[in-house]
């Protein structure tokens, strides 16, 4: 029986989109997934090398290109291996089977006599003079995948599961031109947008003379509707004019976020779209003890290290766009809607940028370039955002309030659980109908999407990981979607998983304390999922966890666990830290089960990154509002520094027979909650609002 086709292969069944043999000795593989610093292209090459029986060196990768690769939507949600990797594996297996069938015909032998070594066909182990490239002319790769190709058993894999050096890293370490920022196209000019402060703001008087003079070089103004850009050959001149424009352009109907809207509690007063997911909440406690706690988190920035950049050329009715966004096909659809061009007239290519961690300004910068390019046919346009532009205008991860309440049985275990959430959307991506920023300023802005969030079928947005994996008889999520946030909000690494896991795993610790139980023992007593138990037990052993370690001493340790989206990778973290006025992280231990691991060192790298970024969110990060977004640079939005990073030890539980699962986001929640629990252990009192800044720690200690 044929294997069912993985989603992306079902959507893109033509085999040559996945695998082709462009020249002798080389194999080209296509993936809709893009490199965002997570090493995905290396992992895809490992998969292809094993399934096709060729050396890695023979493989070149096409990635994220509307003209050349499968459409796999977004590189997001830790799904590249689970879906994209599995799809590529099957496509390669199907291609291998087609070549073997052709070899049987040409050689007049039986299939069972054949094997493949580095692309060459062997018959009973002996060379036959045939290989992929001699046979390629007779194999029709415009055929559709069938799923009939036999995938390699795990035991026969050589490259999958082996530590493999990232193919892109050397070029980054030697300073080569690899990023979109490094691209040069003949005749290219630079453009900088004079940003519309908010949707609906109208462009008033423009002091053109002063702006042009400030450039100290030739620049011009390009305008359509409320979209105004400065364009010129010299980037420094364009930049100087852009700086001047901030003070020499008038806007009407300006609305900016206020300090009141900065704090998550503001959400509680807002109109919302309400939903209940799960069993109805019981009217009374039925003799059980009720316990409730409220947790919150402010808005976060992606704060990518490189400002967003995009290039575009509109020539002979065709628009070509270069972008570092996570989804070239959804961006193309947004450009169709924004510019009124037909999809067949637009090609979007992915070029690497810095880590994005979700929906940052990448799509917007590409659209900026495209909008300007439409006004300047034949001229390649490059837009590189300024640091302030990135911080102020990138979509933010929404603030959230999470209220958890449980009914406890006599033994102190929860038998009824409610997680109530207030949040704006986590998905204003172009693929969800969201508009690119520049579209708002055009003469006829496209319609706004209906308010919504990521559906639970796709892991949920604000509701992601809001349901505990523990054995609890009745559980429900109450979701208050606040449709009008003070700033544009969208996807950041893990979406609602971080605030939800922070809330529920801190709450579990509070329940354990009430029950007089050790946090590890308590968790195990309400967990029957064996893979969950394994990571909790493993991390406790790694950290030499001992029940009953005394708290309130200024030194603390905490544990937390989550299965990402309740259906992907399992991870548990233990954090050890010290608190004086400031929190100093000392050590983080992490055990993760991500199913079949393609590149163990790559997985560990991602897990480390997730831990450090989450630690940074928890200890330092919140977007400030003060007559506008007041977090506009690295001083007003500080992140974790080298001297503040803890030691990290990670172990993988490599369950080889399971589907490979993504790991970019799995540690975000457990790290946050383990820090929260460790701080509570260190101080003897709990802080439920993030970030855990020095001011907040001091205020909490003074209250005690």
């Amino acid at each position: 029986m044929n294997a069912p086709l993985s989603g992306p292969l079902n959507d893109n069944p033509v085999l040559e989109r996945w695998v082709s043999f462009p020249k002798s000795g080389k194999i080209s593989i296509g993936t809709g997934r893009v490199e965002i610093g997570q090493g995905v292209l290396t992992a895809m090459m490992q998969i292809a090398a094993d399934e096709l029986d060729v050396a890695m060196e023979r493989i070149v990768v096409r990635s994220g290109d509307t003209a050349l690769t499968p459409n796999e939507g977004y590189t997001a949600g830790s799904q590249s291996m689970q879906f994209g990797g599995v799809a590529l594996r099957q496509a390669c297996a199907d291609v291998r089977a087609l070549f073997l069938a052709q070899a049987v015909k040409v050689l007049g032998c039986r299939l069972s006599e054949l094997s493949i070594r580095d692309g060459s066909m062997l018959r009973n182990g002996a060379p036959t003079g045939q290989d992929y490239w001699t046979l390629a002319g007779a194999v029709d790769l415009t055929a559709k995948a069938t799923g009939s190709g036999q995938r390699k058993p795990v035991a026969e894999m050589k490259t999958i599961g082996a530590n493999t050096a990232r193919l892109d890293l050397p070029r980054k370490i030697f300073g080569e031109a690899i990023f979109i920022h490094d691209m040069q196209i003949d005749g290219m000019v630079h453009a900088r947008v004079v940003r519309q402060p908010n949707r609906g703001a109208k462009l008033g008087a423009v002091d053109e003379k002063t702006i042009l003079r400030a450039a100290k070089g030739p620049v011009e103004l390009v305008r359509t509707g409320n979209f105004l850009a400065i364009v010129g050959e010299n980037e420094t001149a364009v930049d100087l004019a852009g700086d001047a424009a901030a003070n020499h352009v008038q806007w009407q109907h300006v609305e900016v976020p206020t300090p009141l809207q900065q704090e998550a509690n503001w959400l509680l007063q807002r109109p919302a779209i309400d939903r209940v997911i799960g069993a109805p909440e019981p009217a009374d406690a039925q003799g059980r003890t009720r316990f409730e706690a409220t947790y919150s988190r402010g808005h976060l920035a992606h704060a990518s290290i490189s400002p967003s950049c995009g290039l575009a050329l509109y020539k002979d009715g065709q628009l070509e766009v270069w972008t570092h966004c996570q989804g070239v096909f959804p961006l193309r659809a947004a450009l169709v809607k924004t510019l009124g061009l037909d999809a067949s007239k637009i090609i979007v290519h992915h070029v690497q940028g810095s880590g994005c961690y979700g929906h940052n300004g990448a799509d917007d910068a590409a659209a900026d370039a495209a909008i300007v390019a439409m006004q300047k046919p034949g001229v390649p346009i490059r837009v590189c955002w300024r640091r302030e532009e990135e911080f102020v205008y990138e979509p933010k991860s929404p603030a959230m309030v999470v209220k958890v309440r449980a009914l406890l049985d006599a033994d102190g275990k929860p038998s009824d659980w409610t997680q109530e959430i207030w949040s704006a959307t986590h998905n204003y991506r172009p693929g969800a109908g969201g508009n690119v920023l520049g579209a708002w300023a055009l003469p006829n802005p496209p319609a706004e999407p209906q308010p919504g969030d990521v559906p639970e079928a796709n892991g949920g947005g604000a509701t992601r990981n809001a349901e505990p994996l523990y054995n609890i008889v009745a559980k429900r999520i109450i979701h208050h979607l606040v449709p009008e946030p003070p700033v544009r909000t969208s996807a950041l690494r893990g979406l609602g998983a971080m605030p939800n896991v922070f809330a529920l795993e801190c709450f579990i610790d509070e329940l354990a304390e009430r029950a007089g139980k050790d946090p590890v023992e308590y968790r195990l007593s309400i967990t029957s999922d064996n893979r969950a138990r394994a990571v909790i037990e493993k991390v406790a052993a790694m950290a030499n966890w001992k029940a009953g370690a005394s708290g309130g001493t200024g030194r603390g340790r905490g544990i937390a666990f989550a299965r990402y989206k309740n259906r992907a990778a399992y991870s548990a973290c233990v954090v050890e830290l010290e608190v004086e006025e400031e929190i100093s992280l000392r050590h983080v231990w992490c055990a993760t089960d991500a199913g079949l691991v393609i590149n163990p060192d790559g997985v560990i790298n991602q897990l480390e990154g997730g831990i450090i970024q989450s630690a940074s969110w928890v200890l330092k990060e919140q977007v400030r509002f003060e007559n506008g977004v007041a977090s506009f640079d690295w001083e007003t939005y500080p992140v974790l520094k080298f001297s503040e990073v803890p030691e990290i030890d990670i172990e993988l539980i490599n369950t080889k027979d399971e589907t490979p699962l993504g790991v970019g986001e799995v540690t975000a929640g457990p790290t946050a909650a383990a820090i929260g629990n460790a701080v509570s252990h260190a101080l003897g009192t709990r802080i439920r609002d993030l970030p855990l800044t020095r001011d907040r720690v001091t205020a909490t200690l003074l209250k005690e």
Binding site: P170, F174, G175, A237, F642
Partner: protein
Amino acid sequence: MPKKFQFTVNGKPVSIALDNEETPLLAVLRTELGLVGTRFGCGLEQCGCCTVLIDGKPEKCCAKPVWSVAGKSIVTVEGLGTPERPHPLQQAFIEEQAGQCGYCLTGILISAKALLDKNPKPTRGEIAAALDDNICRCGSHNRILRAVEKAATQMRGATP
């Protein structure tokens, strides 16, 4: 009238004529000289992506006017090593797989070189302190610290 500026980059003399003498050194390196290994991150001298050595000292060059480096000696990541002849730091970064998106790495390599030039045997704490001017957003910090330690050890071995 364009003005002329002279300095050296990676040991080679450079002479450049510019209309605007306030043009940042970073723009000159990237645009005029095609040395794109030094990255633009903020333009505010905050993130360290644009760190280069100026007369041996690590400095951010995204807001440093070109006139201020006239006559000086500049080293960029391109002057550190090549794939054929990597600097021990570059070799160690590859061995430790020290990086994710890699955008910050060239600035970090320069900061690390400046540290090892004056302190060949730094502690982990001293390395971290020396890199606090460089932001890594992906969370590759521990690998980077390990790589610098490793390079330091190798360099001491090579030139005792």
